[in-house]
Amino acid sequence: MAERILLVDDEEDFLEIMAERMAARGFEVVTCTTAEQALNKIKGETFDAIILDFMMPGMDGMHALKEIKSQRPESQIILLTGHATVEKGVEAMKLGATDFLEKPADIEALEAKIKAASARRMLIVEEQTQQTVKDIVKRMGF
């Protein structure tokens, strides 16, 4: 089953080309040009990984990261930035980012990170499901 990814970047040309390249690699791609659009998307849809630009008009990547994690804690978020610094990286990880990449990013490296993020998300969802089943069994007194 194809990994489902959400690409969020205000640069439409970047989004269009990246989406085409990721689709050619077998990913199911959804795109948004603002963090606000992305937050609306995740309300009704699930994604194996979210690739989020750091600097965007309105809500920036760090703020969006916080909001996404509060709505969907299991989300795997990879931040993309024009200038990666240790401070930014540490802050992003503290807020729950899965990874942090500098543009221009190597697509093979991004692909590997998405697959790893997707596997991590599956584990989290599996654990959550197991816990839910245990809770039901306990409640039913089996």
Binding site: D10, D13, F14, I17, A24, P57, G82, H83, K103, P104
Partner: protein, 218 residues
């Protein structure tokens, strides 16, 4: 605290640093698109080798996008160059219109982030001032930055320079989310005050038309 020269120097360095950083960040964005475009070309070649024909129209559009990003990166490099060379003219003559153009160009990304459109009204006639081009650029930037912080999203900031008796005037309007208290705080800020003093500039705010005016005496 230091003397005026120290304060101007420190503030100038911070301004230079901020502009250089923003410019290089933008250049990285342009390079990322060029990089992905090159990657897509490689992908299309691989697909062609597997039997999927290349579309001339697709290639043409991709070439167009690469050219656009090259032009963007070129503009950023030119801005960096002009910023660096603004330090060459410490006592003028400084061209107000051209300096405003550079400041607006440097502010473009910040305006986009604030979701504000910048509209420069072309200056009529030659507006020159016997002042440091770098300091002139710096104070225009500070005024733009203040305006962007006090504008509602999806609004337009008009920037207009003109000759006035005894000098030149730069007007930014309308500052759609500004009041007289904000404006007073801006003009009283040490960095702004020191620069205005060095440039022979008076900054006023007209609340009715929400106009910020910088008047330069020749």
């Amino acid at each position: 605290m230091g003397n005026q020269t120290d304060r101007l120097g420190d503030a100038g360095l911070r301004f230079f640093s901020k502009m250089t950083s923003a410019n290089s960040h933008e250049a990285k964005n342009a390079l990322a698109i060029i990089n992905e475009s090159a990657g897509l070309l490689e992908d299309l070649v691989l697909l062609e080798e597997k039997g999927q024909p290349l579309s001339a129209d697709r290639l043409s559009r991709l070439a167009g996008k690469i050219r656009q990003q090259v032009a963007r990166a070129d503009e950023l490099a030119k801005n960096s160059h002009r910023l660096a060379h603004s330090l060459d003219f410490q006592r003028g003559p400084s061209h107000l219109g051209r300096t405003v153009e550079l400041a607006v160009s440097l502010a473009a990304r910040f305006a986009a982030m604030a979701r504000v459109e910048l509209a420069t009204v072309p200056a009529s006639g030659e507006l020159t001032l016997p002042v440091s081009t770098f300091q002139l650029l710096h104070i225009i930037w500070l005024a733009l930055e203040f305006a962007l912080d006090h504008m509602q999203a999806a609004s337009t900031l008009d920037i207009h320079a003109e000759n006035v008796p005894g000098g030149a005037l730069l007007r930014l309007s309308p500052l759609t989310a500004c009041d007289t208290t904000n404006a007073a705080q801006f003009t009283a800020a040490p960095e702004v005050r020191t620069l205005a003093e060095a440039l022979g500039c008076t900054i006023t705010y007209g609340p009715q038309a929400a106009e910020l005016e910088l008047t330069f005496r020749k």
